[in-house]
Symmetry: C2
Subunit: 152 residues, 2 copies
């Protein structure tokens, strides 16, 4: 089903599949993008600020993006194209064994004055663990065509 | 050289090495974390919003983090630990062949009332291309010990 700006309303909720976090993936992501010892080695991480192996915040953000792309939100006409991120809060570090799942809420929709036919949808994306406690909250705007824009 | 909160002052600038963006890496990152066609395939990307292969914004953020970790900022006592991201703006998509380099500016430093011995340093991290035009601007707070906190 193709959704356009008119089909999205504040308060609307989308959810995602579940993502299982493994120690190997935490280390592999960090080795490439955030090679700090508390993301790379269990023993060294024990004596760190985190007190144990912790995923890079950018890894948490990347897992969140993957879950978004694979969710209903990923099927919007333009996919998921953001002009930026309004904010990210990391409530606690993600750990090996965490099972992550998203709750994506539509906060606001508006047509762009500068680009008729195209709108911005502000989303709050909460990444939560198996017991529903949030590990990350992200707010962003994505581009969604209006019905007229999509037909054109 | 170990720097503490007292050594960082607003206006101070750090720079990074240069990072060369390849089409293979754009596609490999996207395949894992942001599998949308305009990040995965040149031909399909031509007809997309981006008009050609474009890096995922999360890939741009990840390359930025890697450059930060490898810069002088990465040698701070706690490394680079952020409690979140204040904002990210993507000014234009990163393309194959881009050469990225950071300018990291200290915006503000303050000791945490809730955790004496530990401070927050607000940074503006501009990721720019070979001609110095920004592709991404990110603001974040990182944790830096005070001199007393570091000695304790």
């Amino acid at each position: 089903m193709t959704r356009t700006l008119e089909d999205l309303v504040p308060g609307q909720i989308f959810t995602s599949a579940t993502y299982a976090v493994t120690p190997d993936e935490i280390k592999a992501f960090a080795a490439r993008w955030d090679p700090q010892h508390f993301h790379l080695d269990e023993d060294s991480a024990k004596d760190s600020f985190f007190g144990g192996l912790a995923a890079s915040g950018w890894h948490t953000a990347a897992m969140t993006m993957r879950l978004m792309v694979d969710s209903e939100i990923g099927k919007l006409p333009l996919g998921i194209i953001g002009t930026g991120i309004e904010s990210i809060k990391w409530h606690r570090p993600v750990r090996p064994g965490d099972q992550l799942r998203l709750t994506i809420e539509v906060l606001e929709t508006r047509e762009m004055r500068s680009r008729p036919g195209l709108g911005l949808v502000r989303l709050r994306v909460v990444t939560a663990d198996a017991v529903g406690e949030p590990v990350q909250t992200l707010e962003t705007n994505i581009l969604v065509p209006t019905r007229a824009g999509q037909a054109a």
